[in-house]
């Protein structure tokens, strides 16, 4: 029982780290790509696109956050199911909406609130299931699993 509870707590911590990094990374990337302008599908257009993103600090900060997301996702997936972690990470969309209302004082449509509600119910449903349903993949570490 204590092992199960420990597993849930450390999974929750890593999923929260994933969500924060993903939200910050997505916001930075969207801002950076808006600054860079539309991509034209020609050799010159693609080269121009690569040159403009490689010198865009906002895109690099976004990429750093996404690397943080990837590190926390890899760590949590070493013990928890992918099908448990992946939907739980969608809580970031709900967080983005709450931040838009609380911090930016934006008006949020009813459609978006319904979406947030569905995500929260979905995450709660997935959260009720066991974080790990597979056997330990590394026999030497079976005792810790």
């Amino acid at each position: 029982m204590a092992t199960e509870s420990r597993l849930r707590i450390k999974t929750l911590i890593m999923v929260l780290a994933m969500v924060v990094c993903a939200v910050a990374g997505d916001l930075m990337l969207k801002r950076g790509m808006t600054d860079a302008g539309a991509v034209h599908f020609t050799t010159h257009g693609l080269l121009h696109f690569l040159a403009s993103i490689s010198t865009n600090a906002t895109i690099w900060i976004g990429i750093l956050f996404l690397l943080g997301f990837m590190a926390s996702q890899m760590t949590v997936m070493s013990w928890a199911d992918y099908s448990y972690v992946m939907p739980a990470g969608a809580f970031g969309y709900a967080l983005q909406t709450f931040l838009a209302v609380v911090v930016l004082h934006e008006t949020v449509s009813a459609k978006r609130w319904i979406g947030v509600l569905l995500i929260c119910v979905g995450v709660i449903l997935v959260g009720q299931t066991k974080p790990r349903t597979t056997e330990c993949a590394v026999p030497e570490k079976a005792a810790a699993c």
Partner: protein
């Protein structure tokens, strides 16, 4: 047509990449303790896994498809469609990783998928 192809690359690339990386992380074995040093050692070992190097090109492909799609279309178009990756991911977890995706988990995945689509479209 190019948009449909890029959406396909976005969904299948990110899901395939994540499934491969999940397999790599599982075969590496979890960190002994939740401390930065142990986690860094784990990440170093996981990066040496072949699964990781299968996942990275797939995710890179998906990432570039996302960048191009975001420059062409609004977020409210790209994200609702890419939300299908939650369903594709659950299928990958069940059939490729052998996870037990029970009814509650399926219901959660479908609600999350619909919710993400609504949030992005709203």
């Amino acid at each position: 047509m190019l948009t449909v192809l890029l959406l396909f690359i976005l969904i299948c690339g990110s899901t395939g990449g994540e499934v491969a990386i999940a397999q790599g992380a599982k075969t590496t074995g979890e960190p002994e303790r939740m401390r930065p040093r142990e986690i860094l050692i784990f990440l170093g070992r996981a990066i040496c896994s072949g699964w990781f190097w299968l996942g990275i090109p797939l995710m890179a492909l998906s990432f570039f498809a996302l960048l191009i799609l975001l420059s062409w279309h609004p977020l409210s178009f790209v994200i609702p469609i890419s939300a299908l990756s939650y369903v594709v991911g659950a299928l990958g977890a069940k059939y490729l990783l052998g996870e037990d995706v029970n009814t509650a988990r399926w219901a959660g995945v479908i609600l999350v998928c619909a919710g993400v689509a609504l949030v992005a479209a709203g």
